[in-house]
């Protein structure tokens, strides 16, 4: 055990030294900025770092000088001044005060003022608005205006459990990969509205220099104007429960034309999906779709096999709710029925009506009723869900 640890530690140290050299470029400082705000923050940060390092070295220097010169072992006799009483002592005492006054409010204070104003300037000249909604533990995106208006999707982490549990090799973008990237045009000022469905999350992409909390029931905003095409990755950075480490943000910044193409293709995809909601789905179709939805959205809590993690997260296998009918004799949806629970949530259980499409909800409910050890035999059709909206 101890030997193992030492071996690991030694290897770690070697690895570390090696990789410090290799990754020096990103590991020591903020990532390369791609928005005006990030550029500004990096500038401010670098400037402040230099300032505090100078203070540190100067003060440390004085102290070390004193430690070397004024010690008993070199025979230094102690003075007995107490001060600050003489004029020069008072001045000396006020010098660090004055220096810091200058640094705080002039050297650091003025650039900081400009950055704040820049950071909060979300509305002027903004060319596009998107809304980001945090929920445990995924981000939802909605395009609020322009040609992209109405595009709406959820973005889930795709890193497989096997990699997290160390059963398979970790991929290149371990923990920082999602199924649906947000696509934004470059060189356009995008106003980003933020809110949340449950607890506070923070939407953060380091390369954008933008981080803002998503607060349930409130609207917050920030903005980005990405200057270079590319794929940018970030993470939620407000503790939001057990999945906090697993809700990445991935943004694709693309040139204007490509963005238009993406919008067009997304629109077609959406109209196909809504057409799908009206058609009658077969059992196989529903269950295949449902399995996918389940594994992506529900398995975190209810576990892949449906056994849940009682007492926090109930088992779905044999659950009273899953094995009960959804509609009463008059065809009305019953309270605390399976559909009601998935649609509207309760306590820790999220309400999925805002997050999943009609098809997905219908599919996952059908799946739960006919798999995971349950065999109710009935199916829920997307049109039935659509009718509830």
């Amino acid at each position: 055990m101890a030997f193992q640890f030492l071996k690991k530690a030694g290897m770690g140290l070697m690895l570390a030294v090696w990789s410090l050299a290799a990754h020096a470029e990103y590991a020591w400082n903020f990532p390369k900025p791609v928005t005006p705000m990030a550029a500004d923050t990096l500038l401010v940060h670098n400037k402040f770092m230099v300032i505090i390092m100078v203070i540190f070295v100067v003060v440390l220097g004085i102290m070390i000088y004193s430690i070397i010169r004024h010690r008993k072992s070199v025979g230094h006799k102690a003075a007995d001044f107490t001060g600050p009483s003489t004029r020069s002592q008072v001045i000396w005492t006020l010098v660090p005060f004055a220096i810091l006054l200058y640094i705080d409010f002039i050297l650091m204070g003025i650039p900081a003022y400009h950055s704040v104003v820049l950071m909060e300037d979300t509305k002027n000249d903004s060319e596009m608005v998107i809304k980001v909604t945090g929920s445990q533990w995924r981000w939802q995106y909605e395009y609020m205006d322009g040609e992209a208006q109405g595009i709406k999707f959820v973005s889930n982490m795709t890193t497989p459990q096997e990699q997290i549990q160390n059963k398979t090799e970790k991929g290149e973008h371990y923990l920082l990969e999602v199924d649906n990237h947000v696509v934004l045009p470059v060189d356009k000022k995008v106003r980003i509205l933020l809110t949340s469905n449950d607890v506070i999350h923070t939407w953060w992409v380091p390369a954008f220099g933008a981080a803002r909390d998503a607060i349930p029931g409130f609207l917050r905003e920030t903005w980005v104007k990405i200057e270079e095409p590319g794929t940018y990755r970030g993470q939620c950075k407000e503790l939001c429960g057990k999945g906090h480490g697993f809700m990445p943000v991935v943004v694709d910044a693309v040139p204007e034309e490509q963005f238009k193409e993406w919008v067009a293709s997304k629109k077609t995809e959406m109209s196909a999906a809504s057409a799908g909601a009206d058609k009658e789905w077969s059992k196989d179709e529903l269950l295949t779709q449902g399995k996918a939805v389940y594994e992506k959205n529900c398995a975190v809590c209810h576990q892949p096999g449906g056994q849940g993690m009682p007492p926090a997260f109930p088992a779905l296998t044999g659950s009273k709710i899953v094995t009960a009918p959804n509609f009463d004799a008059d065809g009305k949806l019953m309270k605390d029925s399976h559909i009601d629970r998935v649609f509207n949530g309760k306590g820790m259980m999220p309400a999925w009506k805002g997050t999943l499409s009609d098809t997905d909800i219908a599919a996952v409910i059908s799946y739960e009723r006919n798999a995971l050890g349950n065999s109710m035999g009935d199916l829920v059709q997307p049109s039935q869900i659509k009718a509830l909206r």
Binding site: M144, G217, F218, N344, G345, G347, M349, P350
Partner: protein, 302 residues
């Protein structure tokens, strides 16, 4: 066990078991309370509620036992002449600091009231009209919020009538102000060695305190049964009941303390130049009084 000093002897009490029992009692009380409220959120833990209630009771009894024992001991020491000027000054400073900490406690709730009324409610009403989820919510006070689904439970905005200032609350203000005067009058009696005035003054104060509590109880009943105003009535209900409730709790404590010193006065305790027990309680009562005035203005009136 006393110590020779320039100011005379400073009294250092003998070892005492009361603090340890008190802490144990408190531990039982709060742990029991936690267990007894578990079913609120998690039905699978409902079986803890009964043992929880038992623990609460045991803790409560331990606390009561200590209160009697500890305070009894202090009274005994005081009457036994252990406390001189020097000790007396310690108690005074201690009491002032303690009341200061109580002020800070109430400040938290006044802060919450201020924040909701001046900041959060208007903010919720004033989001960008293009995107706001609360289209027809007006940020006027009193408010129970815009409603919505919170952590999976739907909250429907309750209809309620806010509490007016000029009925019972105004009477209660008068009661408390008068009681502040009567306790001061009693103090004068004490200072002039007029024991009759002291006792009558205290009796009136106790009576006024009880009348206040009675009226507040009635007011709460009225709020719940007729006005539809409950703890769950959003921002207004929460701040209203928490502020007035904690205040009422302090009035209750104050009244009990007043009854104790009334009994002590009747037994002939306290002299014109040695009566910290009386003064401590009087200060506390004035503090409760001032908090009420703030409540009256900020919660009921404005």
């Amino acid at each position: 066990m006393t110590t020779q000093t320039h100011e005379g002897h400073y009294f250092v009490p003998n070892p005492s078991i009361y603090p340890a029992i008190l802490s144990t009692g408190i531990l039982l009380l709060v742990a029991g309370f936690i267990l007894s409220i578990t079913p609120d959120r998690d039905q699978t833990l409902a079986y803890l509620a009964t043992p929880g209630k038992g623990m609460m009771l045991a803790g409560f009894l331990a606390i009561i036992y200590v209160l009697f024992g500890w305070f009894g001991k202090i009274v005994g020491e005081s009457e036994g002449g252990k406390y001189k000027k020097w000790e007396d000054r310690s108690f005074r400073i201690g009491m002032i600091v303690f009341i200061a900490s109580e002020v800070a406690f109430f400040a938290a709730f006044f802060g919450a009231l201020f924040y909701m009324r001046v900041i959060s409610v208007p903010e919720i009403a004033n989001f960008d009209p293009q995107f706001t989820p609360y289209k027809d919510f007006l940020g006027t006070w009193p408010s129970a919020g815009p409603g919505g689904t919170v952590l999976g439970t739907e909250y429907k905005v309750p209809q309620f009538t806010p509490m007016g200032a000029w009925g019972i609350p105004a009477i209660n203000t008068l009661l408390l102000l008068t009681s502040g005067a009567t306790v001061t009058w009693a103090h004068w009696g004490l200072l002039n060695s007029n024991r009759r005035q002291l006792i009558i003054g205290l009796m009136m104060t106790v009576a006024l305190g009880i009348a206040f509590l009675f009226l507040q109880g009635y007011e709460y009943h009225h709020a719940y049964s007729e006005l539809g105003l409950t703890l769950g009535s959003g921002a207004y209900g929460a701040t209203f009941f928490m502020l007035t409730g904690f205040h009422g709790f302090h009035v209750t404590l104050g009244t009990i303390m007043l009854i104790v010193i009334l009994a002590r006065s009747m037994k002939g305790h306290f002299t014109a130049d040695h009566h910290f027990g009386f003064e401590g309680v009087a200060w506390y009562w004035h503090f409760v009084d001032v908090v009420w005035l703030l409540l009256f203005v900020l919660v009921y009136w404005l």
